[in-house]
Symmetry: C2
């Protein structure tokens, strides 16, 4: 019934790959790459997870989480994101410092703890990177947001999340003083290199490369 630290990391990785891949089974290789592990190791583990009914596995054809597997993944993600809120809001960590610590805290096993933590934090719906926090049942808000790089209309958007959680990237946004919830007014899009000229919070003008724009999620100020 219990899942080990290691198993939880596999389950989380598979959950994220399923989300990204949109439809279709998740391959052994993709899991191996995501976890920096050898494919042979992954084969062993997915056999064990299949025995535990956490996923379905067809030899040479990848895996899919069962409902049970998805629930475990969502529980771990819930804990990860709540702990990130705690670290930023209560302990004053920066948003680029919390990921590694939350990777440890997410495996602490106590239903009472996660629920009391949730209440203590005021039942937040989003973590410091703008990711939605699943509730006890695994349900979470779905926000219609898009990478800034896919935007073509020159209008005003709200910066509501990041795709990339690397410290270097987050620190770069901090140097721009670009924070979650800020408005981003698209002033022009460079056809040649797909870079953006924007105005942040109706005040400062900034330049964003395509690389940066593709890691920034926004939604339009009007429709949402």
């Amino acid at each position: 019934m219990e899942t080990s630290f290691t198993e939880e990391n596999y389950i989380k990785a598979i959950f994220k790959l399923e989300e990204m891949g949109k439809s279709g089974a998740v391959s052994t290789n993709d899991i191996a790459i995501r976890l920096s592990m050898q494919p042979a190791t992954v084969t062993d583990m997915i056999k064990r997870l299949a025995d535990k009914k956490i996923l379905t596995y067809k030899k040479y054809h990848g895996v899919l989480l069962t409902a049970k597997g998805k629930k475990i993944a969502l529980d771990v993600i819930r804990k990860h994101r709540l702990w990130e809120v705690f670290l930023v809001k209560k302990l004053n960590f920066r948003w680029d410092e919390v990921h590694e610590i939350a990777e440890q805290l997410e495996h602490i096993n106590s239903e009472a703890l996660v629920n009391k933590l949730d209440d203590f934090l005021g039942n937040p719906k989003f973590d410091p990177h703008g990711d939605a926090i699943p509730d006890k049942e695994g349900k979470m808000r779905s926000v219609n947001s898009y990478p800034l790089s896919t935007i073509t209309k020159k209008q005003t958007y709200i910066f509501c999340g990041v795709v990339n959680h690397e410290a270097k990237f987050l620190q770069y946004l901090t140097t721009l003083d670009l924070n979650l919830g800020n408005t981003i007014e698209v002033e022009s899009i460079n056809e040649y290199d797909s870079s953006f000229k924007i105005k942040i919070n109706k005040k400062r003008h900034e330049f964003l490369s395509e690389q940066v724009a593709s890691s920034i999620l926004v939604y339009p100020t009007n429709g949402k």
Copy 2:
């Protein structure tokens, strides 16, 4: 350099046994009993810890922690006790509920986290059971307290700690509404069964068996 979850539990157990035993090496058997493990398993582990210079080991003659081993133990104890304060003061857990959760949290590895947690809690000196919290350097307050059962003088004492951390025992104290910091006035001591008649906070009269009195730590209100 890093210590595993399992190693940390051995180190902590040995530290506590050294404290209890007062002088002399800690035996394989005592460690095995404390950790509910087979002596053969303990022998294996202490060999590994000796290789890592965490303790000194002489075959058939038990172990003693090195300075390095003691520092690791104190770091784990510091984390355990700070997390207990967090659970009780911030998340409203009862003092009888926090031990198991803190047993997990104490192994989270992040110096920044423990130090920020310490500050967030206001740098507490004692945990919810009255145990002193080591600081960054491993130093902690030493309080001259004694089990109530060793008291012979009929005077007023302060209830400042418990020896026994079992939930059942703590819950019993809660039903008596006997809390850390309360005054305990010793009214009489039964010679026959060593039980105590006391007055709590100058208000309520209660009866404590020798068994309970031996798990309660007090210090006199005048001298300390």
